[in-house]
């Protein structure tokens, strides 16, 4: 499998020795422990781990929602803490987030048009309502919610989970991002719909050149989505293994990765039985 070529000289987003410590009643907890990641333009990085592994905190740090205790986050080479005013806005526009829960990620009292138009108007990407409507239709069409006019007037509770996630993606696209952080974006969807959302994201990557930081606990999804990119496995706040996805999944080197792969249930009864017999032997 070809190594991903070291593309641009500067990564789009880089986390350098990022650590995040939380103070809890049980003492200090290192949610993220000395994590270094890089994401190049148009590339996919899958961050895999169980709950408590620190992957969500890492994603939030990458999005600038949480500040690291030590270490830095560099966007296009510049530490995001040093960005001021217009530069920070540019960062915000370039890095967007798709949340896990389709039921919580949309404001329930706003219709879809209001949700999509708000950032368009705020950032003066459109002038007037007619233009906003036009652009909103384009965005919904880009995420396969057709006919767009029908969806724009609906409220979140009138849409299915899969449709809501697509609206979330459309919202993330409003500012023309260069990187989308998808935090378990497909985990709460039904199996048969999950794939279509993933296919949509892959299409956006191909058509718009958007990079993805894809967080998931599901190794099979990470493999599918990140096949041409890299995968990093997190455990207890540290990255225990990272590399090109085919390599990490098919030839894992770290014992934790191996344990994870062994533990994943396979949709294959004979294989499952063989693995079980091997385990108990």
């Amino acid at each position: 499998m070809a190594e991903p070529t070291p593309a641009a000289p500067r990564p789009l987003l880089a986390l350098e020795n990022v650590t995040r410590v939380f103070r809890t009643r049980a003492g200090l907890v290192r949610a993220v422990d000395d994590v270094t990641l890089r994401l190049d333009a148009g590339q996919v990085l899958c961050l895999v781990g169980e709950s408590g592994s620190g992957k969500t905190t890492t994603a939030r740090i990458a999005a600038g929602l949480t500040t690291p205790t030590t270490g830095s986050v560099r966007f296009d080479g510049t530490d995001i803490r040093r960005l001021r005013g217009g530069e920070f806005t540019a960062f915000r526009r370039a890095v967007q987030y798709v949340h896990q829960d389709p039921y919580a990620s949309l404001n329930p009292i706003r219709d879809i048009f209001a949700t999509i138009a708000a950032p368009l108007r705020r950032h003066r990407l459109v002038r007037g309502r007619a233009e906003a409507w036009q652009r909103a239709c384009e965005l919904l069409a880009a995420v396969d919610l057709t006919p767009p006019e029908q969806f724009l007037k609906k409220f979140p509770h009138q849409l299915s989970g899969g449709q809501r996630q697509r609206v979330s993606v459309a919202r993330a696209l409003t500012l023309g991002p260069r990187l989308i952080i998808a935090d378990e974006a497909a985990s709460m969807l039904d199996v048969s719909i999950r794939v279509s959302l993933l296919n949509l994201l892959m299409r956006l990557r191909d058509e718009l050149g958007v990079a993805f930081l894809f967080i998931t606990h599901d190794l099979a999804i990470a493999k599918y989505f990140g096949w041409q990119g890299t995968t990093a496995v997190m455990h207890r706040g540290r990255i225990v293994e990272s590399g090109p996805t085919p390599q990490v999944i098919n030839e894992p080197r770290h014992e934790y990765t191996r344990a994870l792969l062994e533990a994943v249930p396979e949709p294959d009864p004979d294989l499952a039985r063989r693995k079980r017999e091997k385990r108990l032997a």
Binding site: I221, L260, E266
Partner: protein, 370 residues
């Protein structure tokens, strides 16, 4: 009561040898309704199946298919707005007597539950009372269903079941739920369900919300327990790979009906209903090269407004004119193999190609007879 699958071919090494041929649970034409603001919804629209002793049956489907409703209805645990207008659920006790669960009164039901059949609800995190210690919850559970046991017997039994699920009783009994991890809580719930040694265990999404490694431990534990204690299992899941791991037989549900049922190898290797094949194609495997996975277009139907004929036809790649005319019945695919049944007018056209796993190419398998 006639056993539908009186003689069945042993389904290979995955199933434990069946000595008895009488089912322990026999469901016929079960219908479950809910009263909602929008009208009466039929969440389960005529389900029939048998469960044999020591057998594990998986009810697989996506949200809204009725699997959880069905599981709850079997133990008559439906919420107030739910009702069972028709159908029978016959249970064969250890003494051989058969009762219709739907006709039991409250007292009989209380004795039936937990002693004959127990349930582990979805969301282990929330099923335990947060202000009671585990020891007290065990006591409450036993006393609710068996007033005859003495305190000492209850405690002894509690320790026994905790050990069976590989937990340390001294550590767990005095603890509150928030002191236990998710995996431990799930084990506690499984242990509690075994307290009165039931013949049937119903599990609703037993591993959702658990980490992969914990999931694996719970799956292995369930295997072990079933081998040791010999109970039959019905488990509900949207997770197909889990069914491959745990089940002897699998029933896929769609829009309130079972649309395919069969031995686990039949379902996974020779599925005959387009929905089942669609589900299988939507699940990416972990081993092997890059898989090709496809989604099923459309979305599950609104139960208040089902499409005419087969409820799956709007999304079905094999749909034809007669699919809108009549809803297909769940029928055996071949007289020689009554165990594998599918509800489709065109099972002869359904194909399923097994993805190459671990680099081994497998020839596309078109319908073979039987």
């Amino acid at each position: 009561m006639g056993a539908v699958d009186a003689t069945r071919e042993p389904a290979g090494a995955t199933a434990p040898a069946r000595t008895a041929t009488e089912p322990v649970l026999s469901v016929r034409d079960l219908v479950v309704e809910y009263r909602t603001d929008a009208g009466v919804v039929r969440a389960v629209r005529g389900v029939s199946f048998d469960l044999y002793p020591n057998e594990s049956l998986a009810l697989v489907g996506e949200s809204g298919c009725g699997k959880t409703t069905l599981a709850l209805a079997l133990l008559r645990l439906l919420p107030k707005l739910g009702s069972v207008p028709s159908g029978t659920v016959r249970y064969r006790g250890r003494d051989g007597r058969v009762v219709d669960l739907l006709s039991l009164d409250a007292e009989q039901l209380r004795r039936f539950r937990w002693r004959e059949a127990a349930i582990v609800f979805q969301g282990a995190m929330n099923s335990l009372n947060p202000v009671l210690r585990i020891r007290d919850q065990i006591r409450d559970t036993v006393r609710a269903h068996d007033r005859g046991m003495s305190r000492r017997e209850i405690d002894r039994r509690g320790r026994e079941v905790l050990r069976q699920v590989r937990l340390d009783p001294d550590r767990v009994l005095p603890a509150y739920p928030h002191e236990l991890s998710g995996g431990m809580k799930q084990r506690v719930l499984i242990a509690m369900s075994l307290l009165l040694d039931p013949q049937i265990l119903v599990l609703d999404e037993p591993t959702t919300a658990l980490d992969i490694l914990t999931q694996r431990a719970i799956v292995d534990l369930l295997h072990e327990l079933r081998a040791q204690l010999g109970f039959a299992t019905i488990f509900v899941s949207h997770d197909l790979p889990l069914a491959a791991e745990l089940a002897d037989r699998v029933a896929t549900m769609y829009a309130g009906r079972i649309i395919e049922i069969g031995d686990v190898r039949d379902i996974f290797y020779h599925p005959r209903h387009p929905y089942t094949t669609g589900l299988l194609k939507a699940v990416p495997p972990v081993v092997g090269d890059l898989p090709e996975i496809t989604s099923i277009p459309g979305a599950p139907p609104n139960l208040l407004d089902l499409p005419p004929g087969c409820p799956f036809h709007p999304r079905c790649p094999y749909a034809q004119a007669d699919c809108t005319a009549a809803e297909p019945a769940l029928e055996p695919l071949a007289p020689a193999a009554p165990g594998h049944r599918a509800a489709c007018h065109h099972t002869d056209q359904v194909t399923f190609e097994r993805r190459p796993a671990a680099g081994r190419p497998v020839a596309a398998e078109v319908n073979a007879d039987g």
